[in-house]
Symmetry: C2
Subunit: 417 residues, 2 copies
């Protein structure tokens, strides 16, 4: 099929595509009860669940524009290529938390991958529903530590690293979207910006007039554009995670690029903190969400702590490996530990910075989160959003003052609700 050129598929034409593609057929087994359902709730792409009586899979196709906006906002469909090779690369380092890729067709910008069947749901929806995931912190720490470590210079030679960096430079259109919606639009007037008006009008204005904030954001944007530290997922919010009580799966790495590790860690932590601040808007007589808010904060804390532990353990294990950042002949014993501490501290502050930036853009930028959007009463929603926004601004500006994740959690708890 690949040679025939790109065609946007639909639930009907996908049938023929599947039938002509052995790697998909073999996954599905007997094709007689073939059922196809488009479920893409995402912003960018089309996602089809394909089931038969003997198998299942998901087909994701990228079209050359942004789905939720339409053909007026073109976007390279090569993003499917970067998503596919990243699922494979991250999957090779962390198969427990990344769906297997069965098939990739670059011409069609089409990925066939494991169907994450119910009870898997998008984590963000679980957080809105008040569901606790006891293994979430452990699993996310595992995913982030393994993918980021093994694609960095702590593990690889600079030869491998520069080759990989070059390849992912091709994903520049998606990077540009991040640059615009995360690091630029919220800090200026933009036709795309939205916020709970009129409640947050002054808050949005204050963001656009906050010089301290802008100075910090410039630094983070430069890091995002210039620092090829590791192969990051690039869009690691709670809508890119599907979870059950004991499974955590990371999907949708179409924004992948060699970038700062803190961008991924911050995206996840920042979205958890958004979930935290949204909880009051979801409280009702049956559930005041107080205990759940504490669980979210514990997950924030555990995620970083477990990440730090796993990441530094991988580093110790691979001390005598190929990684060229800290040669074992130079970084012996005590200086090795000190180098690790210095590295982790910088990464912690990067993560807080990027996390805060991700929070801000979800409140005054183009793309909002369902955590807040699903709060019907705009005045209630605005109160929750303002708490999150104020905390994020403080975090971005004062991040270097936080010595540990516990201090961050304490600061969150202190926000009057």
């Amino acid at each position: 099929m690949a040679a025939e050129g790109f065609r946007a598929l639909n639930e009907n034409t996908l049938v023929e595509y599947i039938k002509a593609t052995p790697s998909l057929c073999s996954q599905l087994g007997n094709l007689e009860n073939l059922q196809i359902k488009e479920v893409g709730d995402g912003n960018l792409n089309f996602v089809y669940i394909v089931t038969t009586s003997s198998g299942s899979l998901v087909i994701k196709q990228a079209l050359p524009y942004i789905r939720c906006i339409g053909e007026s906002w073109p976007m390279s469909k090569e993003r499917a290529y970067f998503e596919a090779i990243t699922l494979q690369k991250h999957g090779s380092w962390c198969p427990n938390h990344v769906p297997e890729v069965y098939h990739f067709d670059r011409v069609m910008s089409l990925i066939g991958m494991r169907y994450l069947a119910p009870p898997h749901i998008i984590l963000r929806k679980g957080l809105i529903a008040g569901i606790e995931y006891p293994l979430l912190a452990e699993h996310m720490a595992e995913y982030m530590s393994r993918t980021l470590f093994h694609t960095s210079l702590l593990y690889n030679t600079t030869t491998v690293h520069r080759q990989e960096v070059a390849k992912y430079c091709g994903n520049l259109e998606l990077c540009r979207l991040t640059e615009q919606v995360v690091f630029s639009d919220p800090y200026k007037e933009s036709e795309y910006n939205r916020y709970t008006s009129p409640y947050l009008d002054n808050d949005a204005l204050a963001v656009r007039e906050d010089d301290e904030l802008k100075l910090e954001v410039a630094e983070l944007k430069a890091k995002f554009c210039e620092q090829a530290q590791a192969l990051i997922h690039g869009d690691l919010h709670t809508g890119s995670v599907m979870a059950t009580h004991d499974s955590t799966q990371i999907i949708d790495p179409e924004f992948a690029v060699y970038g700062p590790m803190g961008f991924d860690i911050g995206a996840f932590l920042g979205n958890l903190i958004l979930a935290y601040f949204s909880q009051d808007g979801h409280a009702d007589a049956a559930n005041d969400r107080k205990a759940y808010k504490q669980w979210i904060l514990k997950t924030v804390e555990d995620t970083w702590k477990l990440f730090e532990k796993k990441f530094t353990s991988l580093w110790v294990e691979n001390k005598y490996g190929f990684g060229e950042a800290y040669l074992s002949a130079i970084y012996t014993d005590t200086v090795f530990s000190r180098a690790q501490e210095k590295f982790m501290k910088a990464l912690f502050h990067d993560s807080l910075g990027f996390g805060a930036a991700k929070m801000i853009r979800r409140i005054v930028g183009v793309a909002h989160v369902e955590d807040f959007e699903s709060i019907q009463d705009a005045s209630v929603r605005a109160v929750c959003e303002r708490q999150a926004l104020d905390f994020a601004k403080k975090l971005l500006k004062e991040r270097r003052g936080f010595q540990s994740i516990s201090e961050v959690v304490l600061a969150i708890k202190k926000v009057p609700s």
Copy 2:
């Protein structure tokens, strides 16, 4: 010729190559008095001066190994490609200080460029001879500000930037050489390290055992390997500059890559400071070199100050241009000035760090500088080298404490000689 594949040329076979290459012939005019002389005093490549009665040019050819070591240290001859495109790119932004490229043959790894005729000499030789260059600071500031600014995100879109970054990732073998000889070997035992023995044995050992130094070097190495800030020359020591009283020409950018701007600025300033500390070894009855030392320090100071002035002026001039790091809609008026100050301060400290690292490696690493090597008396040489080394260590560790280049120069003056 290009299609015939690579052949290492010599003074004889180069004649035929030139005759078959119109772009070279037209530069030389009448070929009857063709004279060819190999003059490569560099470490890596072959350089031929070609003259006729009506014209002249230089031919530089890269062989697939490092010239001064031989075939036992292979090195991609594609470095000639990166040198050629960088001469062209930097030349387009600063034609006054970069020799024109007449011809490039990628298969032959061969560049034809303007012959920088006498009285041009390699700046390092001029510094050893005690020659003052009244326009050097101005010209180097011009070169560095124009090349670095126009290849950064202060001037370019991220689209252009990522495309360029990808291309230069291919120059990884040369980058690896830098990583090894600048950021690694001096800090560990290495068969390649050399130093004025036995005088500096303990000093070299102290470098290998200095944990503070190693922590700082790790940070700089990571920046070099990860930060694609601008298209840097990559080897901007005083041996890559040819100068006369009123001309300054930058040659030999075969190490070019998208890297931290401070790497170039530091290379130049660090090598000036090495020249400074070598002067006592060149003093004699006729010239105590005291005034010359002051001229070198003035040049250090002027270079940075003029660089800062020119660079920030370019930034102001291009404030409403394509550059995407600081969008004019966000960085208005006062915050724009503050962003510039913050940027320049970070760049200053980067430059000091890289400059110091470049100094250290020239004293205890594989490649030394003629400034010191030409001091015959080893005990005298060792004293000069130790002063430079001690100052460089201090500069590397305490660079963030320096608020201005004047403070750095003051600290240099305070070194007891």
